[in-house]
């Protein structure tokens, strides 16, 4: 017998809204129900949603500071090591360790190190690049980058239960509620 246990792999439920205030109030309702693993998708940044969902982005600033200081020290030491230790060249009797002359390159290396850190930590913390994602399977989701507002409840939320979650979303002013398959 080739019995197969087909567990419907549900990734979550997605609701579509026309206006940003509808999404904000729906998010508030879902949060009030006690859901934790939710995400919103909007064509432009919405401050209220970031506050509601309480995103903590301070890590990126911390990493930038650390890497900036690291590049600063590293950049200076590189110049010191080259000019005073590895390859000392006497030019008009100037000191091998000419600190003022090392400042411009140190500054530029600091900025470069910090900026590269910002960019890559932005990508890594956002989970990008990731070209495939279950949400892209929902046809309507392509409008998230154009004009529609979306609310998504993840299936691994402890409260998630497909029918009741869908019902909650249906009661909001959603244009449509879609099941997202993995």
């Amino acid at each position: 017998m080739t019995a197969q246990f087909e567990i419907p792999e549900v990734y979550g439920v997605l609701a579509e809204y026309k206006e940003v205030h509808e999404l904000i109030s729906a998010t508030q309702i879902v949060l009030d129900h006690g859901y934790k693993k939710i995400q919103t998708f909007t064509p432009h940044p919405v401050k209220e949603l970031s506050e509601l969902l309480n995103h903590d982005t301070r890590l990126i600033a911390f990493l930038t500071l650390v890497m900036g200081i690291g590049s600063c020290l590293g950049g200076y030491y590189l110049q010191y090591w080259i000019s005073a230790i590895s390859f000392p060249v006497n030019i008009g009797g100037r000191p091998y360790h000419s600190a003022p002359a090392f400042i411009p390159a140190t500054f530029e290396i600091t900025i470069l190190g910090a900026a590269v850190t910002v960019f890559f930590s932005f990508l890594i913390l956002c989970g990008l690049p990731r070209l495939n994602h279950p949400l892209f399977n929902v046809h309507q989701f392509s409008r998230a980058s154009i004009d529609r507002y979306f609310l998504f409840v993840h299936a691994n939320d402890p409260l998630f239960e497909i029918s009741s979650t869908t019902q909650i979303l249906n009661q909001s002013s959603a244009l449509g509620v879609y099941n997202v398959k993995r």
Binding site: F41, H44, H55, L112
Partner: protein
Amino acid sequence: MNNDLVDLNLTNLSITKKITDVVLTRRQGPYWWLGLFITALLTSSFVIGVIYIFLVGVGIWGINIPVAWGFAIVNFVWWIGIGHAGTFISAILLLLHQKWRTSINRFSEAMTIFAVVCAGIFPLCHLGRPWLFYWIFPYPNTMGIWPQFRSPLVWDFFAISTYFTVSLLFWYMGMIPDLATLRDKATGKIRKKVYGILSLGWRNSSLHWSYLERSSLLLAGLATPLVVSVHSIVSLDFAVANVPGWHSAIFPPYFVAGAIFSGFAMVLTIVIPVRHFFNLENLITKKHITNMALLCIVTGSIVAYGYLVEFSLEWYSGSNFEKHLLINRALGFYAPLFWIMIICNVLVPHIFWFKKLRENMLVVFIVSLLINLGMWLERFIIVIVSLSHNFMASAWRLYFPTFWDWIFLFGTVGLFFFLIFLFIRFLPAISIYEVKDLVHEENSQGKVP
């Protein structure tokens, strides 16, 4: 409802359509093709020039002793300066919460990158053996030698490469959401794939937006001191030398002000035709143009003040060489260029005090061209007039550009606009999500009783 920064009747859908149509559906008109053709021609001539200089060497330029820095360094400083206004608009105005930057920041960032590309080629070709340019980078090598960190040339290398990298990262990061919009809007298979890959799977989630906003602020905070440092370091290429007319402590701030001044002029030169030919008048409004015109007065006045200080320092220096330089500039062989520069940079921007004139697009466009010319002449005067009359009268010698010097100047102008034309055609030239955000913000402010 209307607002002087943006048309408030625009919706998410119409903003998306307006901006993506330029890339996705609109057939480019004859002007675009004509522009692309001319600039492609200039770019090809530039490529030929670069190949020629690789084969033959810098002798094809008019440089000699004592004027060893000719058009190449003039153009280099000019292009780098033009880039600076882009960073000013995208970074400094972001930190200052200036809403009017929204619809022009993508453009000006692109301008920065293309200007730095044009600028970077000159010192490279000027090296003599350009294929060995990487020797300036500190990498472990079998020769056992290292770059000389006491030299401004090495500082310059670090400044320009950092500036290019940071500008590119800033530009690309801000464009990811708009590339995602293009991905979702595109109908063709290839386009969908290309924009899909470029947008890295951006999903518009609030977490993404939060990180993007935080990262943009951080990058803006890093780019702000960077932009000041880059032209300061470029100015140190001159100020560290003891040539009269170069050896001056005023140079770093004076160069930075000049850079931003010329950059604003270049933004105007590009934006005015673009908003006209691509019907973007309700996104790039009169307010944007007049704001930039006013900034031209401000930065132009700082530049004029810089001239005044520089001339006084030379006049009261007590050094005959410095005094001679000042007289030679104003009355010598290159005097006509000096006076054109004074007219273009000091006098012309002040016609923007008149509201009628700064709201007339043609006038603003012509003035922006004059400022570009004036700022190019300023660099010509700094580089060439100072070198041609050095300490020893017996060593004086005039400089005349050759055919190839002109090819390199106009070739890079061609390359710059060629890249701009392609940018308008293939990438979102106006930040879609920032305009949406602006419209929402302005509308919700209006609704509050």
